[in-house]
């Protein structure tokens, strides 16, 4: 009897993936879907990056040299849409797919078929969005924020833009539902909520944010659609509508959205710093509370994106105070990371390097964020390159660096081999130098008066723009090193199960590479306790 069960389990273990393209098209395996998400987001990262390079090439010198202003505007718009919805968000969903089941001792995601669907919607959505580049009137050029009435001047691309945003939203909502259900229902029965790793916690919070705000975005763009084609006047002043209402609705989505892109990054960093400091995470529980506070506050600060639209004084003051408050929980997180390093025994492998750069550079982005909260000063900063510098600091050496850190950290677990550490370090150093060269000068040109979203500028901004452009090209090329690391990922030495030096986390208790199915039987109490940062 016992041997039959053992045989059956063995049988099951050997039941691997299907062969060929069908494996990827029809897969319901969280690891395969995670891989699909990650590869897709990397492709989008390069497409969006190429668009950024068109922008930076044009801006290298004053005067128009390469593209017409309409096309320039299309490039900034598409760059943002692709990076936000196509690169950063799917990449974190990819990490969630791969890691959450393994971190909570679950065999797979709770809703595997929906998981497949939520991924395969994405290539369709971005296929549609990218096809607008070839349509009469060109790709959308009204900015990723899609403010009416300008966005209603989009050519044939307009309905395709709306439809692709709908699809992206659909995919995100399904992904979020899946993550919530998985965490709440598939967690190892012995694992308490507070014992969960911070990455899982941050994703749980993020998933709730997604469910709360993606429908709001869908509603906003649907109103744009009916304004354009069905004679409504939600946002058209001539028909009694209000263009500012769109901005309120958009940023009610948009501000939680920025935390959707950074909370999972906090999670990744909170996994990596303890491992390479050889110390438990400092303030595990306060990390959870800080993350939740940030999520709550993210719903009541949206109008700080709109301090120049002419709000009542009381409104401006409220949004200023609420925005300043976010600095407190965000500060707690940074202090906890520093507290984790304090009196540790640090080593500096590539994931740790990216994480340290994250803490430094994200904090610089946080500082400029605090400056932007001061309403009177924001009136000067608003829609200048200072803002561009700010959000790129939190998104590139913020979210993107966290993604890179996570990729290097878990890559040996995924492939079973150590990646090329030398190449990884080159990738890190070139990226870090060029990212600062690109975005730091933008603070100066912004303060000195250069508005964002312009294809040409006055001559006093020439030097810093040249620096930024050189930095951007360097940063773009640096990412090719990452591709090299991925292509040679299986050429290194065999990875051990733990991969690193006694890392905490259930994912390190399964073999490397992680077998197709993990945790068919949930981990026990002991194992969970010894692999949690929580003291509970």
């Amino acid at each position: 009897m016992a041997s039959t069960v053992a045989d059956a389990i063995k049988e099951h273990d050997h039941h691997g993936p299907a062969k060929g393209i069908k494996r990827w098209l029809f897969t319901t395996n969280h690891k395969d879907i995670g891989t699909l998400y990650l590869i897709f987001s990397l492709v989008m990262f390069f497409i969006g990056g190429a668009m950024a390079l068109v922008v930076r090439t044009e801006l290298m010198q004053p005067g128009l040299q390469f593209v017409h202003p309409e096309f320039f505007n299309s490039m900034t718009t598409m760059h943002a849409l692709i990076m936000v919805f196509g690169a950063v968000m799917p990449a974190f969903v990819g990490l969630a797919n791969w890691m959450i089941p393994m971190m909570i001792g679950a065999p797979d995601m709770a809703l595997p078929r929906m998981n497949n669907w939520s991924f395969w919607i994405l290539p369709v959505a971005f296929g549609i969005l990218l096809s607008t580049l070839f349509m009469p009137g060109g790709a959308p050029a009204g900015g990723w924020t899609m403010y009416p009435p300008l966005i209603l001047q989009t050519g044939d691309a307009f309905p395709y833009l709306i439809f692709s945003v709908h699809l992206m939203g659909l995919s995100s909502i399904m992904g979020a539902i899946n993550i919530i259900v998985t965490i709440l229902n598939m967690r190892a029965p012995k694992m308490t909520l507070l014992q969960m790793p911070i990455f899982v916690w941050m994703w749980l919070i993020t998933a709730y944010l997604l469910i709360a705000v993606m429908p709001v975005l869908a509603g906003a763009v649907t109103m744009l659609l009916t304004d354009q084609f069905f004679g409504t006047s939600f946002f058209q002043a001539a028909g009694g509508g209000d263009p500012v209402m769109f901005q309120h609705i958009f940023w009610f989505f948009g501000h939680p959205e920025v935390y959707i892109m950074i909370l999972p990054a906090f999670g990744v960093i909170s996994e990596i710093i303890p491992t390479f400091s050889r110390k438990p995470l400092f303030g595990h529980d306060s990390m959870v509370y800080a993350g939740s506070s940030i999520a709550f506050l993210s719903f009541i600060v949206w109008a700080h994106h709109m301090f120049t639209v002419g709000m009542p004084l009381s409104g401006q003051l409220f949004f200023m105070f609420a925005t300043m408050l976010i600095a407190v929980p965000t500060g707690v997180k940074v202090f906890n990371w520093v507290g984790t390093m304090w009196k540790g025994s640090m080593t500096f492998e590539t994931p740790m390097l990216f994480s340290l750069a994250f803490v430094f550079l994200f904090t610089i982005g946080g500082f400029s964020g605090l400056m932007l909260a001061i309403t009177a000063a924001d009136i000067q900063y608003h829609d200048t390159y200072f803002v561009v510098a700010h959000f790129h600091y939190v998104l590139v050496p913020g979210s993107i660096f966290a993604l890179m850190a996570g990729a290097y950290y878990w890559l040996p677990k995924w492939t079973g081999y150590m990646y090329n550490e030398t190449a990884g370090k080159w990738h890190f150093w070139t990226s870090t130098i060029f990212v600062n060269l690109t975005f730091f000068p933008m603070h100066f040109v912004g303060l000195a008066g250069m508005p964002r979203r312009i294809p040409d500028y006055s001559t006093q901004f020439a030097d810093f723009n040249m620096m930024s452009s050189i930095g951007a090209i360097g940063f773009g090329l640096s990412q090719l090193i990452f591709v090299y690391v991925l292509l040679t990922a299986k050429k290194g030495e065999k990875a051990t199960d733990a991969v690193w030096d006694n890392p905490i986390g259930l994912e390190w208790t399964v073999p490397s590479p992680a077998p197709y199915h993990t945790f068919d039987t949930p981990p026990g109490d002991e194992l969970i306790k010894s692999h949690s940062h929580s003291s509970h």
Partner: protein
């Protein structure tokens, strides 16, 4: 191995030094006009002071946090034989580093709110100008005066800005920052602006007046300034408004009161003057000008 470590250590140290230089180098550069201008109104100066205050607060916090972090990075490394401690929380530390930021923020919020209250007080103006944004030019109408005109990008910039124009932007004075007809206001007067738009959203910005207000179709926004210094102040449209968003500058000339009066006199009957001005008289523009 040992040597490799040392090289690595120096590399890391050098890169942090580089970062610090970049940060503080930025401050040094800020003095030669790469910072926000202090401007020529009481409120632009207050805004500038707020900006510098919050900037130095951030620098202060940065020095402490990054200082601790860099110290830890240098001292608490395995290659130096550091043994990991095992603590995972400290209630005292956590209360302290939650409370201190709260106090700093509270202290910051007070002057920030005071300036805002003044900025929003546009009562009792000496004069009012209706500013209307168009794709892609501004229109100014002086209330209670028979004066209204469009303000377009100056001809020289228009020629130079075209793709492959062959004109070096550096050879053009105030490239993209000059107009054919600037807004003219008297020095010391409280000027109220009523800002709106005719097609899409624009935003009227002059850094030295610390005024940036969105021009929104269907809505009239109010703001004000009192320039305390004679001079020409330049700004730009700051809300993406289509293909020529980068080409609709704002120029405000602040002049002595009698010069302003003289300017007003030359402007009476502005309507005829503008109907005859070819560079401006696009059909819909003439229509709108004949209000």
């Amino acid at each position: 191995m040992d040597r490799g470590r040392r090289v690595k250590n120096t590399m890391i140290r050098k890169s942090f030094l580089g970062l610090a230089l970049l940060v503080f180098g930025g401050v040094a550069r800020a003095d030669w006009a790469l910072n926000m201008p202090r401007g020529v109104t009481e409120l632009s100066a207050e805004t500038y002071d707020l900006h510098m205050l919050i900037f130095w607060v951030c620098v202060g916090i940065g020095v402490v946090v990054f200082g601790v972090m860099i110290y830890s990075l240098i001292m608490h490394r395995q290659s130096k034989g550091a043994k990991p401690a095992n603590f995972s929380h400290s209630t005292t530390a956590e209360v302290v580093w939650t409370a201190i930021p709260c106090v700093i923020l509270l202290l910051m919020a007070i002057p920030a709110a005071e300036t805002m209250i003044k900025l929003e007080d546009s009562r009792d103006p000496d004069m009012s100008i209706v500013v209307t944004g168009y794709q892609w030019k501004w229109h100014y109408r002086y209330q209670n005066e028979d004066v209204g005109f469009y303000s377009n990008l100056a001809e020289e910039s228009v020629k130079a800005r075209r793709l492959d124009s062959g004109i070096d932007p550096f050879s053009v004075d105030n490239y993209l920052l000059d107009v054919d007809e600037p807004m003219v206001v008297p020095v010391g007067a409280k000027v109220r602006l009523l800002i709106t738009a005719n097609d899409v959203i624009h935003s009227w910005w002059v850094p030295e007046l610390a005024i940036k207000k969105d021009a929104i179709p269907g809505i009239i926004n109010e703001t004000w300034f009192r320039a305390e210094q004679v001079g020409t102040y330049r700004g730009k449209c700051t809300e993406l408004c289509g293909k020529d968003h980068g080409y609709m500058p704002v120029v405000v000339e602040v002049v002595e009161p009698d010069a302003y009066q003289a300017w007003l006199d030359t402007r009476s009957g502005a309507k005829q003057r503008y109907a005859n001005n070819e560079s401006i008289a696009a059909p819909e523009a003439t229509l709108a000008a004949g209000e």
